[in-house]
Amino acid sequence: MSLAQELFLSAAIVIFTIVVVAELIWKIQAIIRRSR
């Protein structure tokens, strides 16, 4: 374990989380829009 390893892994998880959650929220909003 080193600072660089931990930072790299955390950065990857953070970016992955942003992309997945943002995509999920946009999908839900699109479903709500379509259902009206």
Binding site: M1, S2, L3, E6, L7, L9, S10, A11, I13, V14, I15, T17, I18, V21, A22, I25, W26, Q29, I32, R33, R36
Partner: protein, 495 residues
């Protein structure tokens, strides 16, 4: 006075005082004074992104993570990842909705959807929860000051509360935003330098930390994924409590309300989420390292890592690091103390008058309430210092049900009776789950529930009840955003 503490305080006085004088001069020249709680609603992308990121970088991220990683290991980083999800929900959802509706507080929003009675109930609960957060922020300020000065934690917390109260009483949200911008740069620069520097000054370097855990059979502490029990009991609980409660919490919404428009909030995602999400790496590494060095580990989880930083790093770096930490803590303290004071002035006192209080009377009341909140927080923290992250997770469980009734009221339908039943039942169950005897009795009957924390229980019950009770509701009105286009402004769709 201790040299480091003197320099750290001098830095904060210089930054806060300098920005305060600059803003006061600008307001005098423009002849327009910004509102204490909303800052004039004109924050741009940089200012808003940094404020949103730093508002959620408080005691839990700095000293709470050091304490938690000391005990649990690198799995503590899930608290940060939970905040990344939270930033997404605020920037793409709740933050934009609150800004669109033009509400000043969360109870105000609940009142708009479900009426005055529910507004008062929510105001009382939200103010209580945020006050709890203020006491934890006070404790964190105390830990920082105690680590630098060597003073007892109780007295250090009292000094922290005095500094924090003075900071927010003088400036309000506008000044907090400017100070955040300066502190964000100082804080990030200093933690990167400190992380690299620690690798050289730790007795056996980072490799020594790693081999300590391997030899002692605690290698799970080196993994972000810990053990399955920790993933459920800590990581999942953190995600539930952080996402569902903080996305409708007054501090974050206060930042959203101050944004220039919705597009600022949406675009800030790619700045606020990484800044907030990556911050925790340094405190977690410090907690892990401190637990392996006997002279610091003996101080216990609360003070070990904070003291290690002061003892191992050179004075200039400690000053820079602590100045940034103290700045972040002061900013979170400021936003947290502002929240119950604003709720009290607008939703409890102001709601009794048609059209609310006058801006002057409201500002005066908010200032007095901030002083009262600061004094009470100092008194409580002087005598009692609970585990920061466990305390925060418990407090968040109270706000989780609000997320569901707000989302339902915005997009599905509105029923004051169903909303009241969801909130009241979730809060009663949350209280019951906080009593160890009750929790143990339920766990004996249904062992699968034994690993669940208040945050799980509160969110799951609220979600189920919202679906069932809203589906059955007969007194329902159309949702606030009942139009085909989610982007339609609330004023156009309000009945």
């Amino acid at each position: 006075m201790n040299l480091i503490l003197g320099l750290v305080l001098a830095y904060n006085i210089l930054v806060i005082g300098g920005i305060g004088i600059y803003l006061a001069r600008r307001e005098r020249l423009s002849g327009h004074a910004a509102d204490l709680a909303t800052g004039g609603r004109n924050a741009g992308l940089a200012m808003f992104s940094i404020t949103l990121a730093i508002t959620y970088l408080g005691s839990a991220h700095v000293y709470g993570l050091m304490e938690m990683s000391f005990v649990l290991g690198a799995v503590a980083l899930w608290f940060c990842f939970a905040h990344t999800i939270l930033m997404c929900v605020i920037c793409l959802g709740t933050g934009q909705w609150v800004r669109r509706l033009g509400c000043s507080t969360i109870p105000d929003l609940v009142g708009l959807m479900y009426g005055r009675r529910l507004r008062t109930y929510v105001a009382c609960t939200a103010a209580m929860v945020v006050f709890g957060l203020v006491t934890l922020e006070t404790q964190a300020l105390g830990i920082g000051i105690a680590a630098i000065s060597g003073w007892p934690l109780g007295w250090s917390a009292v000094l922290g509360a005095i500094l924090g109260t003075a900071y927010v009483t003088l400036g309000g949200i506008k000044q907090t935003m400017w100070v955040n911008l300066v502190n964000a740069v100082v804080m990030y620069l200093s933690i990167i330098i400190a992380g690299i520097y620690l690798g050289f000054v730790l007795p056996e370097g980072w490799e020594g930390v790693r081999s300590h855990y391997l030899v002692s059979g605690e290698d799970f502490k080196l993994s972000i994924f810990g053990t399955p029990d920790l993933m459920v009991g800590f990581a999942l609980a953190a995600i539930f409590s952080v996402v569902f409660s903080q996305s409708v919490n007054q501090q974050g919404m206060a930042a959203a309300i101050s944004a220039r428009d919705e597009s600022v909030i949406r675009r800030s995602l790619w700045i606020a989420a990484p800044i907030n999400g990556l911050f925790g790496v340094f405190p977690v590494l410090c907690g892990l390292a401190a637990a392996t060095i006997p002279q610091f580990a003996d101080l216990g989880p609360k003070l070990a890592a904070a003291t290690m930083i002061v003892e191992l790093l050179p004075t200039w770096l400690v000053v820079l690091l602590q100045a940034g930490f103290l700045g972040a803590l002061l900013s979170t303290f400021a936003m947290s103390a502002l929240a119950p004071a604003t709720i009290f002035a607008k939703d409890i006192v102001g709601a009794k008058y048609d059209g609310g209080l006058s801006p002057e009377a409201e500002g005066r009341l908010i200032r007095r309430m901030i002083i009262l909140v600061g004094a009470l927080a100092a008194l409580i923290t002087f005598f009692n210092q609970p585990n920061v992250i466990r305390g925060i997770t418990w407090l968040f469980a109270w706000l989780a049900p609000l997320f569901f009734v707000i989302v339902a009221g915005l997009f599905w339908k509105r029923s004051a009776r169903a909303a009241f039943l969801v909130l009241a039942t979730s809060w009663v169950v949350n209280c019951a789950w906080s009593i160890p005897l009750f929790k143990a009795a339920i766990a004996d009957w249904l062992p699968i529930l034994s690993g669940l924390e208040n945050a799980h229980i509160s969110a799951v019950i609220a979600a189920i009840l919202t679906v069932v009770l809203y589906a059955m509701a007969t007194d329902d009105e159309p949702a606030l955003f009942a139009s085909k286009d989610i982007g339609t402004t609330a004023t156009e769709v309000q009945p």
